[in-house]
C-alpha cells in the first residue's frame, strides 16, 4: 500500500476502510455511509477506484493507493486553487477518484468528469469547483 508493505491481523469480514483507519491510522480515507453509497471512502486498487467500506480486506489483491499516497499529486493543488473543498469531508475520496480518472484520461471533457465523478457525493455542493479543478489539473 502506497509503496509500503504492512502486516495486519484482523478478523475475516473486516472492511478495507476499517483496516486503513483503525489499524493503520490512515484517517485520510473517510467513511460517511459505510454501505457503498457515497464515495467518501474511495481508494484505488491497482489504479482502479474501489469503495473501501464495502471491500473486505481479505479479498484485496494488489497495490492499494489512498489519499496519503496521493498527497503530492497535482490534483491536490488544483483542488485547493479551485476552492473545491468546503467542509472537506468528501474531498479525499473525490481526489482519489479524480486521480484514477485522469490516469486513464489525462484531458477529460466535462462530460467525462461528470460521468466519472457521479459516485462521489458532496453535500456542500462543491461540484462546479471540482469540475474546474479536474479540468485544469495540470495547469
Amino acid at each position: 500500500m502506497n509503496g509500503h508493505r504492512y502486516a495486519v491481523d484482523v478478523p475475516v469480514g473486516t472492511s478495507l476502510a476499517a483496516v486503513l483507519r483503525d489499524e493503520l491510522g490512515l484517517t485520510g480515507t473517510k467513511v460517511a455511509c459505510n454501505e457503498g453509497h457515497c464515495g467518501a471512502c474511495t481508494v484505488q486498487v491497482d489504479g482502479v477506484p474501489r469503495l473501501s467500506c464495502i471491500t473486505l480486506v481479505h479479498t484485496v489483491e494488489g497495490e492499494v493507493t489512498t489519499i496519503e499516497g496521493l498527497r503530492d499529486h497535482p490534483l491536490v493543488e488544483s483542488f485547493v486553487r479551485a476552492d473545491a473543498t468546503q467542509c472537506g469531508f468528501c474531498t479525499p475520496g473525490q481526489i482519489v477518484s479524480a486521480a484514477a480518472l485522469v490516469a486513464v484520461s489525462p484531458a477529460p471533457t466535462r462530460d467525462e468528469i461528470r460521468h466519472g465523478m457521479a459516485g462521489n457525493l458532496c453535500r456542500c455542493g462543491t461540484y462546479p469547483k471540482i469540475e474546474e479543478a479536474i479540468l485544469h489539473w495540470r495547469d
Binding site: 489519499i67 496519503e68 485547493v80 476552492d83 468546503q86 472537506g88 453535500r123 455542493g125 462546479p128
Partner: protein
C-alpha cells in the same frame, strides 16, 4: 482556503478521526415504533456480551426516553471495545414495548390542538377588507416535504473525563453552546467542560446542540473511566439527526388590476415533529413586499416524527416557495411580467425598523439580461421538451451580532496569529479571518495564521448559524488586528522619533507618510525580542433601530420532458446583496453550494414515511436522493459588493443561507413558463410533474382539476 491543503490531503482531523488511547465505542438502541411506551427494559444480558463495558437507559441519561415519540428515538446505549460489539449487544437488551397509535397528519394535529406551541399570529392593516376590495384574488395551497441535512460527517462526539473536567471532541456549529448546555445538564462548572472542534464535516443547521450522542458518551465515559466515542451511522443520521420540517401553506393574494398587491394572507402548518420550534414560514409573506394588509397564522403541529432542526434558512426556504409561486400565478392572471410585478411591489422601507441597507432593486436590474434570455430559450421547445425561465426574490437575515472576541498575537518575527475559539463549518472561516487581519494590519496574507476550534485556547465566539460567522467574528478579528497595529505604530514612533499619526503599516513594512521611513515589521517588533504584541478585539453592537437583512434574486432556466416528467435545470443566475464580499472565490462556492442543495430540495430529496406506522423508509443515501455532480446546472453568481455602511467596522453580511432561499420557486416558475403547469408541491419528481401537467390540461379543458 487557508486550510484547504489539510482537508484535500486528508490531514485535517475531524471528530470522526479522533482516536484516544483506550477509547470505547457506543451504540444506541432506537425505538422501532413511531410512538410507544417502554414498559420494561433490562440490560443485564447485554452487559455480559463480549467486549461490553457499560450500558445506560432512560433513567441514567435525560436524552434517552421511555416514551419514544418518533421512529428512531434513542432509548438506551452500550459502550464496548468495538462498535461491532456494541451493536451486537443492543440485540440483547430486553425491552417490552407498548406500541401506541401514532399521529402523523399535521392538519389532523392542528384540528386536535396537538401543537408544539401557541400558534403565531401576525396581522397588519385590514386583510379582510382589502381582499373584498381587490380586483383579482389568487389562492393556492402549497406543500413542501421533509428534507434531511445529511452532512457527510455524521453527528458524533468523543468524551473523556480528566478528573472533574470533561473533554468533548465534537462535530459542532457552536463550541460555546455545547460547553454551556452540557455543563448545565451535567451540573458541572462551564470551565470544567472543554469543547474541541478543529474540523467538521458539514452541519447546515443540524449541529447547533449537543444531542443524545454527546450526553450518552459523557455518561458512559464517566462510568467506565475511559474515553467513549458515540458516532451516528448514516441510517441513524437519516432517522433522528434533524430535518427541515414539511409545511402546508394556504395562501391568498389580492391585487388591483395594475398589479399593486393590496392583501396577503397565509395559513401555515409546520409539521414540526415530536419536538422543535416553529420556523418562520410566514416570514417572506410578512417582509418581502410592500403590502399594507397582511394576515398570517402559523401552527406548529406536534406529530410522531423526528424533531425538526434549523436547516439553512429555516422557514424562509419553504415560505418563499409558496409566496413566489403565488406571485407568478398572480402575474399570469394579470398578464404582467413577473419581474415588473416584483418591482411594482418593492418594499422601499420596512414595515418596522428601517433597513441598514437594501440593494434589491439593483439585483433586479442586474437580473434583466438573464431574464431576457427567456425569449430565445422558449423557441427551443419542441413537442417533447419544453423550455422556460422563472425567477424568485430572496429576503433573509444574515447580520450576525455580538458578543464575539478575538486575539491577535504578533511575534518578533513579524508573523501574526489570530486566536479565537470558534468553529469552522466548512465555509472558509480561516481564510476570511486571515484576510481581514492581513488587510487591517497591512501585511501579506501568508504571514497570518488562524487558530480556532478549542474552548480552552481562545475567547468566546459566536455560533456558526444564521449566516453569522463572518459578520459576527469578522469585526472582532478586525478590532483585534487594529489593536495590535496601534501598539506596533506606538513602538515605531518612539524608536524613530516620529508622530504616530504619520505612521502606517503597508505590505509588511512600517512606513511614514513622507516616505522617509520604510522598515520591515519584524525589525520593529524584533526590538521586543521574546516579548509579543497582543491585540484584543470584540464584536461591536449592530445599529440600533435597524434591520440587517440580505436580499437577492435568482433566474432559473429549465427543460421539461412532458412525456416522462423529467425536469432538467439548465442554468441559474444568482444575484445577491450581502454587503461587502471578503473572499469572492469562497463566496461563489457558498452560492453554488446553496443552489445545489436547493435543487436537491426542489427535485429529488424527500424523507418518506410509511403512512400507517411512521417508519422511515429512506434511511440510506441510496433511497434518499442527494444531488450528484451530474445534476449541476450552469451557475452564474453575481454579488452586489457594497459595504453596509451601518454595519460594524466590516460592512459584511452573511452568505451561507441566502442562495438556497429562492431556488425552488425560481425552478417551479420556470416550469410553469415552459409548460403552463402550476407546481404546488415539492419535490417535483417525475410523478409530481406528470400530475401537474395533467391538472393543467384539465384546467384548460375547463374540467375541474384533478387533485
Amino acid at each position: 482556503m487557508a486550510d484547504a491543503p489539510q482537508r484535500a490531503r486528508g490531514e485535517a482531523q475531524y471528530t470522526a478521526d479522533v482516536l484516544l488511547p483506550g477509547m470505547l465505542h457506543a451504540a444506541l438502541l432506537r425505538s422501532p415504533h413511531a410512538y410507544a411506551r417502554v414498559k420494561k427494559i433490562d440490560v443485564r444480558r447485554a452487559l455480559e456480551a463480549p467486549g461490553v463495558h457499560a450500558a445506560v437507559g432512560p433513567e441514567d441519561v435525560e436524552a434517552l426516553t421511555d416514551e419514544p415519540g418518533f421512529f428512531g428515538a434513542p432509548v438506551a446505549a452500550i459502550a464496548a471495545n468495538t462498535v461491532e460489539q456494541a451493536r451486537a449487544a443492543l440485540e440483547l437488551i430486553d425491552v417490552e414495548w407498548e406500541p401506541l397509535e401514532p399521529l402523523l397528519d399535521p392538519d389532523e394535529a392542528v384540528r386536535r390542538g396537538q401543537l408544539t406551541d401557541e400558534p403565531r399570529r401576525n396581522e397588519r392593516g385590514d386583510f379582510e377588507r382589502a381582499l373584498a376590495d381587490a380586483d383579482v384574488v389568487v389562492e393556492g395551497e402549497y406543500r413542501t416535504q421533509v428534507v434531511l441535512h445529511n452532512p457527510l460527517e455524521t453527528h458524533q462526539s468523543v468524551c473523556r473525563w480528566e478528573g472533574d473536567t470533561l473533554e468533548i471532541y465534537t462535530s459542532t456549529q457552536y463550541i460555546w453552546g455545547i460547553r454551556s448546555r452540557v455543563a448545565k445538564q451535567l451540573g458541572v462548572e462551564p470551565d470544567n467542560v472543554r469543547v474541541v472542534c478543529n474540523y467538521m464535516g458539514g452541519g447546515f443547521g443540524a449541529k447547533n446542540d449537543p444531542g443524545e450522542y454527546t450526553y450518552v458518551a459523557a455518561e458512559l465515559a464517566r462510568r467506565t473511566g475511559r474515553p467513549v466515542k458515540c458516532a451516528l451511522t448514516r441510517r441513524e443520521e437519516n432517522l433522528a439527526a434533524g430535518n427541515r420540517n414539511a409545511t402546508i401553506q394556504r395562501l391568498t393574494v389580492g391585487a388591483r388590476s395594475d398589479g399593486t398587491i393590496t392583501a396577503l394572507g397565509g395559513e401555515f402548518v409546520n409539521a414540526v415533529g415530536w419536538d422543535g420550534w416553529i420556523a418562520p414560514t410566514d416570514g417572506p409573506m410578512q417582509t418581502l413586499y410592500h403590502c399594507e394588509n397582511v394576515r398570517t397564522v402559523t401552527y406548529g403541529a406536534k406529530i410522531n416524527t423526528a424533531p425538526m432542526k434549523a436547516f439553512r434558512a429555516p422557514g424562509y426556504v419553504e415560505g418563499t416557495f409558496g409566496l413566489e409561486c403565488l406571485l407568478d400565478e398572480l402575474a399570469a392572471r394579470l398578464d404582467v411580467d413577473p419581474l415588473e410585478l416584483r418591482r411594482k411591489n418593492y418594499a422601499h422601507s420596512s414595515n418596522e425598523r428601517p433597513y441598514s441597507s437594501k440593494n434589491l432593486m439593483e439585483c433586479y436590474r442586474r437580473a434583466e439580461p438573464h431574464w431576457e434570455r427567456r425569449h430565445e430559450l422558449r423557441t427551443r421547445s419542441d413537442s417533447t421538451w419544453k423550455y422556460g425561465a422563472g425567477l424568485a426574490s430572496q429576503i433573509w437575515y444574515g447580520g450576525g451580532g455580538p458578543p464575539s472576541y478575538a486575539w491577535t498575537r504578533v511575534g518578533s518575527d513579524g508573523r501574526i496569529t489570530v486566536i479565537t475559539a470558534m468553529q469552522d463549518i466548512g465555509t472558509g472561516t480561516r481564510t476570511a479571518m486571515a484576510q481581514i487581519a492581513a488587510e487591517e494590519l497591512g501585511v501579506p496574507l501568508d504571514r497570518v495564521r488562524v487558530e480556532l476550534g478549542d474552548s480552552a485556547r481562545g475567547p468566546f465566539a459566536s455560533i456558526s448559524a444564521g449566516s453569522s460567522t463572518t459578520p459576527s467574528m469578522g469585526p472582532a478579528v478586525r478590532a483585534a488586528a487594529a489593536d495590535a497595529k496601534r501598539q506596533i505604530i506606538e513602538i515605531a514612533a518612539q524608536r524613530h522619533h516620529l508622530e504616530e499619526r504619520v505612521l502606517d503599516i503597508s505590505d509588511g513594512n512600517v512606513v511614514s507618510a513622507d516616505g522617509n521611513l520604510s522598515s520591515p515589521l519584524e525589525e520593529i517588533v524584533g526590538l521586543l525580542e521574546n516579548a509579543q504584541i497582543l491585540g484584543k478585539g470584540a464584536r461591536g453592537p449592530n445599529p440600533t433601530g435597524m434591520q440587517v437583512l440580505t436580499f437577492g434574486v435568482q433566474v432559473a432556466e429549465v427543460a421539461v420532458d412532458v412525456e416522462t416528467g423529467e425536469v432538467r435545470v439548465l442554468r441559474v443566475a444568482a444575484i445577491h446583496d450581502v454587503g461587502r464580499v471578503i473572499n469572492p472565490l469562497g463566496a461563489s462556492s457558498q452560492v453554488e453550494g446553496g443552489i445545489i442543495q436547493g435543487i436537491g430540495h426542489t427535485l429529488s430529496e424527500q424523507r418518506l414515511l410509511d403512512p400507517a406506522t411512521g417508519t422511515v423508509l429512506t434511511q440510506s443515501l441510496d433511497a434518499y436522493r442527494l444531488p450528484t455532480i451530474a445534476d449541476v446546472p450552469e451557475i452564474v453568481c453575481e454579488l452586489i459588493d457594497k459595504p453596509d455602511e451601518h454595519l460594524t467596522n466590516l460592512g459584511s453580511k452573511g452568505l451561507g443561507e441566502p442562495p438556497i432561499v429562492p431556488i425552488a420557486a425560481a425552478i417551479a416558475n420556470a416550469i410553469r413558463d415552459a409548460t403552463g403547469a402550476d407546481i404546488h408541491s415539492l419535490p417535483i419528481t417525475r410523478e409530481e410533474m406528470l400530475r401537474a401537467l395533467e391538472a393543467a390540461k384539465q384546467k384548460q379543458r375547463g374540467a375541474p382539476a384533478a387533485v
